[in-house]
């Protein structure tokens, strides 16, 4: 196969766009999801700030958003997107639905990670005289870290696949390229190339995630 028939400039450009969309939405999404997950765990039955109303509201919103497929969510929140970034098309506009999509997704995964922390450790922390912030910072986070890194890894891969659908609002990116070149123009070499690139990216993300998770677990 002659590699020169591939539009390398376009591919590089698409990669940059994908990287932009995934990294920004992952960054914002992770911060919001961590806060949301803590809110869920802390207000849940037996949590440090048990409050069934707050828990019920948060839990319902997360389930609601989680039940929408990304492409529907994206279309549904067009007005909201326009309000925030001033436009409803392009990579920047895609950030809004991507964040809305990834926050509840990661929040659920983080919630599981946090619930996995042994209740006995929290009891020990209280017995030492730790306050709420210290319990979270010195006890829950270090113990949940490894599992949360794996959650972020899964979230990143979901985001990469969501960016392909964001192509429908002109966001661009490597997934969009596979669709437009491969599906619409029947350009098989470009489609194959983008598939290979996607597989390599996803594999690398997973490998990196596993590595850091293992390191956080200790050895």
């Amino acid at each position: 196969m002659d590699f020169n028939i591939l539009p390398w400039g376009d591919i590089i450009e698409a990669l940059k766009t994908t990287f932009f969309m995934v990294s920004i939405s992952l960054f914002i999404g992770t911060i919001l999801a961590v806060i949301l997950a803590f809110a869920l765990v802390l207000t849940n039955d037996g949590g440090l700030w048990e409050n069934r109303y707050v828990f019920y509201v948060l839990n319902s919103i997360i389930s609601l958003v989680r039940s929408l497929p990304f492409i529907i969510l994206m279309t549904f929140i067009f007005p909201f997107t326009k309000l925030i970034v001033g436009t409803r098309i392009g990579a920047t506009a895609a950030l809004v639905p991507l964040v809305c999509f990834i926050v509840p997704y990661l929040a659920r995964l983080f919630e599981n990670s946090l619930l996995g922390v042994d209740k006995g450790i929290i009891r020990a922390a209280k017995a030492m005289g730790a306050d709420y912030f210290q319990i979270i910072w010195y006890f829950i986070l270090p113990e949940a870290k490894s599992s949360m890194i794996l959650s972020i890894t899964i979230g990143t891969i979901s985001l990469i696949s969501a960016t392909a659908q964001a192509g429908t609002i002109g966001a661009g990116g490597i997934g969009d390229m596979a669709l437009t070149y491969g599906y619409e123009r029947m350009d098989v070499p470009v489609m194959l190339a983008t598939i290979v690139i996607l597989v390599v990216i996803v594999q690398s993300v997973q490998t990196l995630g596993n590595y850091f998770a293992k390191r956080a677990r200790n050895h």
Binding site: D118, G120, I121, R123, A124, A125, K126, A127, M128, G129, A130, D131, Q134, Y138, F139, P142, E143, K145, S146, A216, R217, N218, H219
Partner: protein, 345 residues
Amino acid sequence: MIEFQDISKVYQGKAGEIHALRHVNLKIRDGEIYGIIGLSGAGKSTLLSMINGLEYPSEGAVLVNGINICGLRFGELQKIRRNIGMIFQEFNLLNSKTVRHNIALPLIIAGEDKAVIRDRVDKLLQFVGLTDKAEQFPDQLSGGQKQRVGIARALVTNPSILLSDEATSALDPDTMESILDLLKRINRELGITIVMVTHQIRAVQKICNKVAVMQSGSVIEEGEVFRVFSNPQQQVTKDFVRTVVPDVITPSVCRQIRMESQENYEVLRLKFTGQNALGDLIYQVNTKFSLKTRILHATVTELNDQTLGILILQIIGKPEQIAEVEEYIREHEVQCEEVKCQYGL
């Protein structure tokens, strides 16, 4: 001094109210190793957790050195908690952190200086004998070593009270003995008051001075270990004590006695305490009275540095002679009671 004043605890359960504790009154003096023993669900862990405010009573007051734990603001409670170490059955160590970091945690959250922490952790690692494990992770350690880390962590703030919540229950017998030795050393060398909740009577027998026996949320028997062990009153206590200080004759001996069908005999249980334990009472009985004695069971136990001897004696002779012997034994301040020979007596 730790004082429980008329403590009750009521939970709202699905099937109505659950009384976890009912009118508990206890006093634990400085320097004691105080055991709280009972079957699971007796309320002993709940009671222990009230000392450092992990649980609150529904009624009553818990005083630690004269301060009522129940009425404290969080900042004050925090200060008291730093003066009370706690160890657990499941160790509750951070698996993602080294042994050194785990031990340092109470000081880190107290905002202590790094150099001070290092120094203090080194001292405790040495005290519990884990200096070579400082940089390892908890899951590389055995159960006994993990509990040593837990103990070092509990002692790192220099507390005056140590709470032990079933700390030896998940350990094998040898390891349990070594952890109990360590706890005794902590009490003797550092002068730390230890309150220990357990269902293992062996733990109480080995290191406690005082014991409270709990059943269904109430303290049913309480006092010096030697007194409670040498003369248990309640059935639960008797059952517990019997497992470490056997005071019954075995079924096979029972059967044999019944088969012999002797007419004039009585079986007596004698309890020797204090200096009587090493006396020559049986020799005296045998020379003074013209009747036969047979030893069916004998044990000698060391409790809290005192000796308790239990002897089950079959005395064969005329009823009036036997009565005289009983009288003679009682005159020598040895507890004496008749036991019927049946299974499990």
